[in-house]
Every structure is written in C-alpha cells, then in structure tokens.
C-alpha cells in the first residue's frame, strides 16, 4: 500500500518537485501540478468569457442600441462562446482528469508525463491568440462560435487568429486524450478490472475517444475555411462548385460529439458525488457504463439536428429526428440511476451534493428542452431563437459548470488538505442556482415568442424578459466571486485540516491517500480486491 508518512513537499528528493517557483510550473510533468494548471487556467478563462457575457447582456438590458455597435456585439457573442467552450469548460474537465484519474486507478502518474506538460502549455498561447483577436483590424471574429461559411470567409484577421487558436487547442485536446486513454487502459492497479473503475474514469475514457475522433474533424473544417479565405479554394462557395452547407456538416459532425465531450465527465463527477453523500453505492454501475457508451456512440449520428432548416430531404430530417430522440433514453437511464442511488440512502447536503442534486434537476430541464428541439417541426420554429440559447445554457451551465463546481468542492479538501468554508460554499450554490434560472428561464419564453438569437436589439414585446435575464446574468456573475473567495481562503489554509477520507461516505483509491497527497503517489501500485 501507499507509504503513509506526511509530506511537506521539499527536502526529500524523490518526492519533491524538481524546481521551485515559476520553473516548477513550467517544467512540471506531475499530474497533480498539471491538473492545478488546467483548473487555474479554466477559472481565468471563465471570468474572461463571463465578462464578455455581461457586456452583451448589458446591451440587451433594454431595446435600442446603447453600448456597442452591432458588429462588436457579434464579436462579444462569438468570443463568449469560443472562450467558454474551449477555454473554460473543456480545460476544467481535463484538469479533473489529470488530478483524479491516476489516483483513482492507483497509477503513479499519466502514461506520457512530458506530453502532458505540453498539452497544458499549448493552451495559454492559444488563449492569448483568441483574446488578442479583439485587437487586430476588424476585431474578433463575429460569425458566432459556429463560424458558418460564407459569413466567416468575410471576417477580418480576427478569424485567422481564432482558427490558429482552435488548431492549437485541438492539438492539446488530442494529446491529452491519447494520454488519458493510454493511462486508463494500461496503468490500472492490479485487480482493478475495467468494470471496477470509478465511473468518473469510465466517463473520461469514453470522452477521450470522442475527442480523438472529432477534434481532427474541427481542424479539417477550420483549415478548409482558412484556405477558402486565403488560398483560393472554394469548398464553401457555390460559385466555385462548393457548398456553404458542407461547412455545417463538417462542423456539426465535430460539434455534436463536442457537446457530449463537455457533459460526460460531468456525469462522471455527479456519479462520484451522489453515492458518497447518499452513503449508498451507485445504483446501476454497469447500466451507467453502457448508457455512457450509448450516448457517445449515438452522438456521432445526430449532427444534422443542428441543421433542420438547411433544406435537407424529409428522409434525412426524419432520420436525424429519430436518432436524436433516442439519445433521451440512455440519458434518462442515468438520471433514474442517480435518483435510485439517492433512494433510501442517508443523505447530507454539503456543497458538493447541493451542486450534484442541482445538476440532476436543472440539467434534466435542459434535457427536456433538448427533446422539444429534437422534434423537427418544432425545431424549425425554434432554431436560431432564444429557446436554443436557453437549452444549451441549461445543459452547459447548470450541467457542465455545476458539475465542475461540485467536483471542485468535493475534491478540493483532498487536494489541499483543508476544508473549504461550507457556509460560503452553500451561498455560492444557492445564488448560482437562483440567478442562473432568473437569467435563462425567461429565454424559453422569448424564443417561443419569436426572438431570434445573436441580435443586439429587439421588439418591445421581448423587453421585460430581456431585462430580467440581464439582471440574472449580473447576479450570477457576482455569485462567482464567492467561489473565488472560497478557493483563495481555503488554499491559504483557513479551514480545518482533513484526514484521508474527507467525506464519510466516500469510496475509492483517492480517499486512501493523505490529504493533501504527496507529490508522487502510488509509486507502488495498490492491490485492489
């Protein structure tokens, strides 16, 4: 088993980081350090993306144009999306993967520790390119995060910077995923069969395969866009024999699995938290594994539900409608399993459990609106309206982001050896939950009533709900400052020290390690019965 002596992190060569200060973070090949780097990066990008959201919501506070020109407004919506997706949500989940997977499977580190460092350090330059695109002539790309051609072929150099950034981030994701797959398949402790792995590890294994499959497709799409823009190709230009809709097919073939990439690790986190705080095992472990795998496989055959209005034949619309509706089934199975896990348990509601239960409740609402959108005739009314904006913010914010918050509160005491401020954590949860719904629930109504998305101004009938959404957005933004305060306070050592099993219902190899764990753990693999 693991050597149990506590570590201070310096003095004992084989266990300490090789450098101190900045060089430690630049050269680290340690999965815990790299996990921390990803999480800090993600948190910073979350605030950048959040600032952009507040800027655009400020414009939408009232009808009329008050703050920004329409072209800058489109830059705000585009970059809010790109930064949140590629800079906040995805790196946050990779941060969890890095911290947790080796500890959960009893491995000393990731399979390719040096490539792991490179995977992270590609991200800050990519983020710099993306943010810098605001400052080049023409500003940032304003074609929506979906950057459809031919609008994106019209954009200025900001589009090229974004393409370059996407390539770099894609490379980072692909390398990270190769690392994750190899680590999980090859470095599990003896006795840990695949069907004994924690569900978080399963969800990341499956997510990593999705990433490897689809990030190259995005790379293809944006490269074709780049060559159409600068090198005389006509992939998306009818005058040259191409087709704008081709871009949409390629983009969404990436884009749909991408949204599952952004939620499956969240499912994994919730599947770790709920059993712990119910003091009861996960109800249907194998069903959860099969459901996750089904969702991943189905995610490849539904992409054109983002394109129901392009003019595809009825047979295609029907196929994609049926396939999309099917995904509701494994997703429902997961929700039922979580509730069955809670059922007749002995629950307590510390902050991680609040976020996990909040997730189940509000993510499912997003799932319901996804089902509404799956029905082609209804989607034809709702596509490109605020109903879609409501749907994806329910699944991405109340889904992915809440899972990330939950996971942070859950594992932070393990990582730093001290408890966070539980009262403030609860405040963070409730304010986030309330303001999230104030912001996004009215968008269902405005979308149904006919408000298109990506517009800086609107008819008076939409004014009240837009005002409410803006107020909610600012409230939600301010609530996130509580989260930062909780983190800083805890990391600075304000909370009480915690032991190995931070939460009394927690099970798994990471809870057998000291809190905080030594720099290197499981150098000798544990034996799993």
């Amino acid at each position: 088993m693991q050597a149990a002596h506590a570590h201070t992190g310096h003095g004992h060569d084989a266990h300490a980081p090789h450098y101190t200060g900045m060089m430690r973070w630049i050269t680290t090949t340690n999965h815990k350090d790299i996990g921390t780097l990803y999480l800090v990066f993600a948190l910073s990008m979350f605030f950048v993306g959040g600032l952009l959201a507040l800027m655009l919501r400020a414009e939408l506070f009232q009808p009329g144009l008050q703050f920004w020109s329409p072209e800058f407004f489109n830059q705000l919506t585009t970059m809010h999306g790109l930064i949140m997706v590629f800079g906040a949500i995805m790196p946050a989940f990779v941060g969890f993967a890095n911290w947790q997977i080796p500890m959960m499977i009893g491995a000393p580190d990731m399979a390719f520790a040096r490539m792991n460092n490179w995977s992270f350090w590609l991200l800050p330059p990519a983020a710099t390119l993306l943010v810098a695109s605001f400052f080049v002539p023409g500003g940032a790309t304003a074609a929506g995060w979906t950057i459809y051609a031919p609008l994106s072929t019209q954009m200025g150099p900001g589009m090229d910077l974004a393409i370059f950034a996407l390539h770099i981030m894609g490379a980072s994701s692909i390398m990270g995923s190769i690392n994750i797959v190899t680590t999980i398949l090859n470095m599990r402790a003896p006795g840990m069969t695949m069907m004994k792995m924690p569900l978080f590890v399963w969800t990341w294994l499956i997510t990593a395969y999705l990433l490897i499959a689809v990030m190259p497709v995005l790379a293809g799409a944006v490269t074709m866009l780049l060559t159409d823009r600068h090198f005389g190709t006509h992939f998306f230009n009818a005058a040259g024999g191409g087709d704008p809709v081709l871009f949409q097919h390629i983009f969404w073939f990436f884009g749909h699995p991408e949204v599952y990439i952004m939620i499956l690790p969240g499912f994994g986190i919730v599947s770790q938290i709920v059993p712990t705080f119910s003091r009861k095992p996960l109800f249907g472990y194998s069903s959860m594994v099969y459901a996750t795998a089904s969702i991943a496989i189905l995610s490849f055959i539904v992409w054109a539900h983002h394109m129901f209005t392009v003019g595809m034949p009825a047979s295609a619309q029907l196929f994609f409608m049926y396939a999309t509706m099917l995904i509701a089934i494994p997703t429902g199975v997961k929700v039922f399993n979580w509730i069955a896990t809670m059922w007749r348990g002995s629950m307590t509601f510390e902050t991680p459990m609040l976020f996990a239960c909040g997730f189940i409740f509000v993510f499912s609402m997003g799932g319901f609106t996804g089902l509404v959108l799956a029905i082609t005739p209804v989607d034809i009314q709702l596509q490109d309206t605020y109903y879609v904006v409501a749907h994806f913010h329910y699944v991405l914010v109340a889904g992915s982001l809440f899972a990330i918050f939950g996971g942070t509160y859950y594992w932070l005491p393990k990582w730093i050896g001290r408890m966070y401020d539980e009262t403030l954590g609860k405040w963070h949860f409730w304010l986030s939950m309330i303001f999230f719904n104030v912001t996004f629930f009215p968008m269902h109504f405005t979308g149904l009533a006919g408000l298109p998305r990506r517009v800086p101004d609107y008819n008076l009938q939409f004014a009240d709900f837009n005002m409410i959404s803006t107020i909610g957005a600012f409230g939600f933004g301010i609530a996130q400052l509580i989260f930062v305060y909780v983190l800083v306070k805890a990391i600075r050592g304000a909370g009480e020290k915690v032991g190995e099993r931070v939460w009394d219902g927690a099970h798994g190899l990471e809870w057998t390690l000291p809190s905080p764990p030594p720099h290197h753990t499981f150098e000798t693999p544990p034996v799993v019965k």
Partner: protein, 370 residues
C-alpha cells in the same frame, strides 16, 4: 393532426396556454396556417409529456431528498443493481418517444410537400434586406427595415412594430398555397415567419423551398433567422395576407409602379440626375457600412470620401461594386441595375470630399458585366 383521444387534452392545453399567453409572451405565436397549427399542437403535446415526466421523476427525487436524509435519522440501505428495473425504465421512455415521433413524422412530410402551389415567390436574402420576385406575376421589389434610425438610437420613442416593420411587405392571398423559394446573394440568411410556421435557410448559390397557406387575413411578422453579419437583427420580414381580390389589385398596382419606375436604358443621364438617383441607391445599399458621411468605420469599413479607389479610374471602382471584394464584407452588387450602379458610383465620386467631376453612363456598367 393530433389523434382523437388526445385532441380534447391538447385543446384544453391550448386554451390554457393561450390564456396564459399574454400576447404570445409565453408560448409560440398564434398559429395562422395549418402547419403552424400542427407545430403548435405538437409542442403542446410534448410539453404535457415532459410535464408528466418531470412531476413523476422530480417528485420522487424531492421525496427522497426530504425523507431519506441523515438529519431525520434515515439509515442508508445498501441495495444496488436491478436488471428488471433498468430494462423497464429503458423501455417505457422508448414507447413515449414513439408516441411523439408518430405525429411529428406526419408534420415533417407535410412541411416538405411544396407541390402544386398557387403562387410562387422567390425570397433572396441580402446583407441586410430581402428581395422578392413573384415568379408568375413578374413583379419584384426590395423589402428593407422601415424603423427609423432615431428609434434605434433612442432619440425617438419606439413604435409598436419596432424592428419588425418594412417598407414593402410581401402580399399574399389568403387560403392559397404559397411556395417560397429561398436563396441569398452573399451569406446564409433564413426566412422565418413564426405565425405561419415557416423557416427556410437562404443559401447563396442554392435554392431551397417551403410553403404556407395563410388561414386568415392579417399581418405576420418575422425576422432573419441565421446570423448574417452586423445587421442580422435588422432585416425583418412582413407578410400581409389579404383577400384574393385585394391581392389581384395589389399585383396590378405593383406592375404599374414597376413600369413607371423602370428606367429607359437609352436615357441620357445628366450628372445631377445621376447624383440624385445615386444618393437614393447609396442610402438603400451602402450607408450601413460606409455611413452617411462616407467615412466608413475606421479599421472596419473603408471610407469612400478621400478613397484612392473612388478617386481613381472608373473601371476599377465599378469592378469592385459589381463583383465585391472576396474575403471581406464587401458583397457583390451586380444585382443592381446598370443605371443604379452608374448612379451610385457617380454619386460617390462627386460627393463629400470627392470631386472627381466625371460621370458613369449605364452603358459603361453594362459593358463591364461581360
């Protein structure tokens, strides 16, 4: 249509929903065509199903949260895995989905049937307005946002139809099948009128079609539904459904108007006439980017006043106007007539700080089009 058994339920739901609609603030707009009605009913059906599932599932979850907590002394049972339960809660949702898919399938097929239309209208999306060509009647016109700039800038109170009013609406006869063909001049737009249940992407270089039949006379407003650049939110659609006699009268009126406005290709224009006409063309096509002052937006849209190209050889400027500049927001304007292009180019060359002093004849534009 919704099956007989569900119709009373759907009707009740519809009444309830419309009662709570408060001028359509909470639900889809009042349907004004068969397809819009079918979509509305489908949505109502799905909402009821979702509501039912929500109550059952989250009722159970809430019960558990209240009853199965440590603070009330509940002790955790340790059961897990039950294949029968897993099978049951996989199969039941499957059947619910089939229940939704069946009526949805019929509506999908109905929406695609554009055969045997009574009239056909081609809607072309531009950055940032629409044009309509009535293919049988032979009339065409542009339709642009009519809301005054002062309202958008907050200098005047906003009207009831703020941002959803146009100068030239699409007039159609009620009760007749209207086929809409969509295409675009530059980027992808989308033609959407919610009350008629119709949305179709307008894709440059391609044609798509869809159809509607308006049940009742009325004015139905929609907006562009695909991000198309800066004024995506400022290119609405207005459809006026009128009695067939009124429609015929309107068509006749349009034809007369077009004949009167048609410019004699052999007309000899004076410089002043070109400039005056050009000012109008500029206001309708160029001002969004190049601005009233001709100064553009620094680093984004080039200034025309003082521009080397505008003050340079005529042909180079004409080529740019006709063919656009690929890789930028400058779209081609070859859809404008020879006279319109000649006029607007003449206007730019003789306005603001530009005093080139020459003029462009429509024939010169025609020659360049080859």
């Amino acid at each position: 249509m919704i099956s007989n058994g569900l119709r009373p339920l759907a009707a009740m739901a519809g009444w309830f929903a419309s009662g709570a609609a408060l001028a359509n603030q909470y639900n889809l707009q009042e349907p004004q065509s068969i397809i819009a009605r079918e979509i509305y009913d489908l949505h109502t059906l799905i909402m009821w199903i979702i509501l039912g599932i929500f109550i059952v599932v989250f009722g159970a979850m809430t019960w558990s949260i209240v009853k199965h907590r440590k603070s009330v002394g509940h002790k955790a049972e340790q059961f897990h895995e039950n294949t029968l339960v897993e099978v049951v809660w996989t199969i039941i949702p499957f059947f619910i989905l089939i229940g939704m898919a069946y009526p949805a399938t019929r509506t999908v097929i109905a929406m695609k049937d554009t055969s045997n239309p009574d009239i056909t209208i081609k809607a072309t999306g531009y950055q940032w307005k629409w044009s309509y060509d009535y293919l049988q009647e032979g009339i065409s016109f542009y339709s642009a946002l009519a809301t005054p700039r002062e309202q958008i800038e907050g200098k005047a109170p906003k009207g009831e139809h703020y941002l959803v009013e146009v100068d030239n609406p699409v007039v159609v006869p009620v009760g007749k099948k209207v086929r809409i063909i969509t295409t675009a001049n530059d980027v992808i737009h989308s033609w959407w009128v919610p009350a008629l249940g119709i949305k179709q992407d307008a894709i440059p270089g391609f044609v798509r079609d869809t159809w509607f039949k308006a049940d009742r006379p009325g004015t139905y407003r929609g907006q562009c539904a695909e991000l198309c650049g800066k004024d995506h939110g400022f290119m609405p659609i207005v459809v006026e459904a009128v009695a067939p006699e009124q429609y015929a009268a309107w068509v006749a009126g349009q034809k007369k108007q077009m004949a009167a406005a048609a410019v004699d290709p052999a007309k000899q224009w004076t410089l002043d006439e070109l400039k005056a006409h050009g000012a109008k063309i500029y206001a309708g096509n160029c001002v969004a980017c190049h601005q009233q002052t001709g100064m553009g937006v620094p680093k984004v849209f080039p200034a025309l006043s003082g521009s080397k190209i505008v003050n340079g050889p005529k042909d180079a400027q004409l080529q740019l106007v006709l063919n656009g500049k690929p890789g930028t927001a400058m779209a081609p304007f070859k859809h404008l007539s020879d006279a319109d292009v000649a006029a607007v180019v003449t206007y730019t060359r003789n306005n603001w700080a530009n005093k080139v002093g020459d003029m462009v004849a429509p024939a010169e534009v025609k020659a360049l089009r080859k």
